[in-house]
């Protein structure tokens, strides 16, 4: 009882509510500006939290984190420029929707999916932190290796149309991910002696270039203005649409929770895994990538599901899973608090006050997001001849802002040309991204496993987690093969039946 009053005392301070609200607003704003990521905003806000009460300080940073996770989807949907890496997957269906005059629907679905996933993630944090933390600790390099193998099978389902083109894209992504320093020996790979490439190719210029620039090139090449006056801001999400996507949202959230609880995978991978899972289960997978609202829902659920769950290894083990949680760890330490098992014993009321605040942040995200959509969706109504020059300016700015370096601007433009070539030749961009993100994780964990096991291959089958993911990987490949064969047979049958498909 005493504890409850203490928790409420800690939680019911005006400063906390202001901190959450300000944090979410900053997060949504910053997240929606390409090149400015939630990570940067959290890092820049950190010094301001030094003088605040611990609960308010952490909540401000968590608010920015969560807001930024959603904010990234706004520009992804509206101008095909992901505000943050994690929202790259959202644009696959979000942008086509915006083009079809359904910008508002896409934005609203992204918001609802984000909030629901956020909520589920928070519940997982509050009730299952201890269990999930245990899984995280048992997740060594070999387990990671198989998780990545399983994730790589995603490429099969994302390669819409031609499997060969999908593989070309994926392998190209892996090839480019090799640029930089070798993780074991530190030797240079494909850098051509260029210093700017030693830290590997920056992800944000790549994303902006790959997605935003081809649209702009295409627009000026055609010189026709596809003037959409079908009330571009359009209608919101109907209840039946939300209900239809709910299963994907819940599944995506759970995928996000698992990925988030394991340090070092990240929200971008979670979004893609959730998206491909939704596509695979959908009765009409062919609609994905052409403006399927469920695709937006699945992607956003995946990346927001990570947000609460990354706090699990942070709070229960003191392990930051990504850069943002590393900064939040810094904020804890500045206030003399050390996350880890001891924190739960010594500062339980504080933890519960934090949990309450984190739950509240989901609700605030819903309101802030709704307000943001009202104004942002107007962007969809701006004529492209005015919008695109501004977008181009943001692209240049965003690419520069990451490292304060003009090299990244050139990199962005180069990927713009590559993206344009992809568009013209029908090579899908999604497998390219998956290859680029997962390629290094695959290699690093393979080599790490071999180093840990002194080149003994038995380390790859060392426990139930590895067996589980091996089964999933094999199952996923077999399922894809089965579908491939049956679809071919169907195609043959329909070809032999005259008049079919007319």
């Amino acid at each position: 009882m005493e504890n409850i009053t203490e928790v409420l005392q800690l939680f019911l301070a005006t400063e906390n509510f202001v901190a959450i609200a300000v944090g979410v607003v900053i997060g949504v704003t910053v997240g929606s500006i390409p090149g400015l990521t939630a990570t940067m905003a959290v890092a820049l806000a950190l010094p301001f939290t030094f003088s605040m009460e611990p609960v308010a300080a952490i909540l401000l940073l968590v608010g920015i984190y969560k807001g930024g996770m959603y904010g990234g989807s706004i520009t992804a949907i509206l101008i095909r420029t992901p505000g943050s890496p994690a929202s790259a997957c959202t644009l696959l269906d979000g942008y086509p929707m915006a083009q079809q005059g359904e910008a508002k629907k896409a934005l609203k679905m992204a918001l609802y999916a984000s909030v629901i996933a956020d909520f589920i993630s928070n519940i997982a944090l509050i009730f299952f932190a201890a269990y999930l933390a245990k899984i995280a600790l048992n997740f060594g390099a070999p387990e990671f290796f198989w998780l990545i193998c399983f994730s790589l099978t995603i490429i099969i389902s994302l390669a819409s149309g031609s499997m060969i083109k999908g593989l070309i894209a994926a392998l190209l992504g892996i090839l480019l991910s090799l640029v930089g320093l070798d993780s074991v020996f530190g030797s240079q790979r494909l850098t051509f002696g260029n210093y700017n490439l030693m830290d590997s190719i920056s992800f944000i210029p790549l994303l902006i270039g790959l997605f935003a620039i081809p649209e702009i090139i295409e627009f000026y090449r055609k010189k026709v203005i596809p003037h959409l006056r079908a009330k571009a801001s359009g209608a919101g999400v109907s209840f039946s649409e939300l209900k239809g996507s709910l299963k994907s949202i819940v599944r995506g959230s759970l995928i996000g929770v698992i990925i988030g609880a394991i340090p070092g995978t990240g929200a971008t991978a979670a979004a893609f895994i959730s998206y491909s899972d939704a596509k695979r289960r959908s009765p009409h997978p062919e609609r994905f990538g052409k403006g399927e609202v469920e695709g937006v829902a699945a992607s956003e659920a995946g990346n927001n599901g990570v947000a609460g769950a990354t706090l699990i290894p942070l709070l229960s083990l003191g392990i930051p899973g990504d850069v943002i949680t590393a900064i939040i760890l810094g904020a804890f330490m500045v206030h003399g608090l050390t996350p880890g098992p001891l924190l739960f014993q010594e500062n339980l009321p504080l933890i519960y006050a934090l949990f309450l605040g984190i739950m509240l942040s989901s609700v605030i995200l819903l309101f802030v997001g709704n307000a943001a959509i009202r104004y942002f969706s107007l962007i969809a109504d701006i004529p492209k001849s005015i919008l695109f020059p501004i977008v181009l300016m943001f692209c240049v700015y965003g690419a520069y802002a990451v490292n304060n370096d003009t090299f990244d601007v050139w990199l962005m433009l180069a990927f713009g040309v590559l993206g344009y070539v992809f568009n013209r030749t029908g090579i899908p961009a999604a497998p390219f991204l998956i290859g680029f993100i997962l390629g290094p994780m695959f290699e690093d964990n393979l080599r790490r496993s071999l180093l840990i096991g002194s080149n003994d291959l038995s380390i790859f089958v060392r426990g139930p987690i590895t067996w589980f993911f091996i089964a999933l990987t094999l199952g996923s490949i077999l399922l894809a093969l089965y579908r491939f064969i049956t679809s071919r047979q169907k195609a043959k049958q329909s070809a032999s039946e005259p008049g079919a498909g007319a």
Partner: protein, 329 residues
């Protein structure tokens, strides 16, 4: 014109503060004449960044001018450092927060366009963070000597946060000095490396104190030694490697240091003004508590002493990198 504007600003806004400053020394008036730029050679959010922002906050009060923090990450700090070495505009108002990346980077990155010692002025070492030699709680080794003897017989693995980090190089240094069999297992940052250590996938690590301190307290990790010259006040019962002495370990003294450097043309009066201001900063309560939270110690060396330290460090890491085969030709 700019000078006049600045002077006007100082006169009007500064008021009493400006008056008291002008009494202190004649030198302090000549510098700074403009905003000071503090370059952080790493991305926002890391230890270097957080420290720099803390220092910048306090420094601008002492210098009575804006101290603007600018992040220029890349190639283990060598991109930003290379840029500083090239000089350019505002170079007399630009400082950089250097760290072990400065000396280790010189050893492992090929074709550096600058000399890590002669191209810079070494203003002040701000903090030192010791590394701790830690093993998992269920490890059979209870002392450094037990560990070394076992490592002579069988191959050991050590985790680190990335090629060229002080954690990595400490492991390589240990391996070289003790002539043992050890394999480096790289991770992307300390956060990713920690579970492998806690879960017992690797045998040992030479992690930064702030990363492992709470795990040592909770009993999940066992500290065998600290790498600094003196015992850490946070782990008073844990010996230094230097104390152990055997197996050449008396030569093992290394810390993750963070200090401010500038271009070699940085004016002498500016160095003096900076050193004076930094002394004040380092005595501030805010700085002291910040250092304690990091489990770090305040830096003690400045100027020529700092430069001599860097010279030794560059030579030492060069040798270790060559020995470990991570030096690129």
């Amino acid at each position: 014109m700019k000078k006049i504007l600045n002077a006007l600003c100082t006169a009007t806004c500064g008021g009493a503060v400006a008056l008291s400053l002008s009494v202190s020394t004649a030198q302090a008036q000549d510098w700074p004449t403009d905003d000071v730029r503090l370059v952080v050679p790493y991305a926002p959010g890391g230890t270097t960044d957080v420290l720099s922002r803390r220092v910048a906050d306090l420094l601008q009060e002492e210098l009575d001018t804006n101290v603007v923090v600018e992040n220029r990450p890349g190639a283990g700090s060598t991109v930003a450092t290379g840029r500083l070495a090239r000089g350019g505009r505002d170079i007399d108002h630009t400082i950089l927060m250097a760290s072990p990346g400065h000396t280790i980077g010189a050893a492992i990155y090929p074709g550096l366009t600058y000399d890590p010692v002669e191209d810079f002025v070494f203003i002040q070492n701000m903090i030192d963070i010791p590394n701790v030699m830690v093993v998992p709680a269920d490890s059979p080794y209870n002392s450094v000597l037990e560990f070394v003897e076992a490592a002579k017989e069988q191959n050991m693995t050590f985790s680190h946060s990335g090629v060229g980090s002080s954690i990595h190089m400490s492991g390589e240094l240990f391996k070289t000095l003790t002539e043992t069999n050890m394999t480096a297992v790289p991770f992307a940052g300390s956060g990713a490396a920690l579970p492998a250590l806690l879960g017992g996938d690797v045998d040992v690590s030479f992690e930064n104190m702030p990363t492992v301190f709470s795990h040592i307290q909770s009993g999940d990790l066992r500290a065998l030694a600290v790498t600094s010259a003196e015992r850490s006040e946070f782990l008073p019962d844990v010996p230094t490697l230097k104390e152990i002495g055997e197996y050449n370990l008396d030569q093992f003294v290394t810390t993750a240091w963070f200090g401010l450097i500038a271009h070699h043309s940085f004016p002498e009066e500016a160095t003096a003004a900076m050193q004076k201001a930094l002394q004040e900063v380092m005595e501030r309560e805010e700085f002291t508590s910040f250092v304690e939270q990091l489990g770090a110690e305040k830096g003690t060396i400045a100027g020529d002493e700092f430069k001599a330290f860097i010279t030794d460090e560059v030579a030492r890491w060069d040798e270790v990198a060559t020995e470990a085969g991570i030096r690129q030709e």
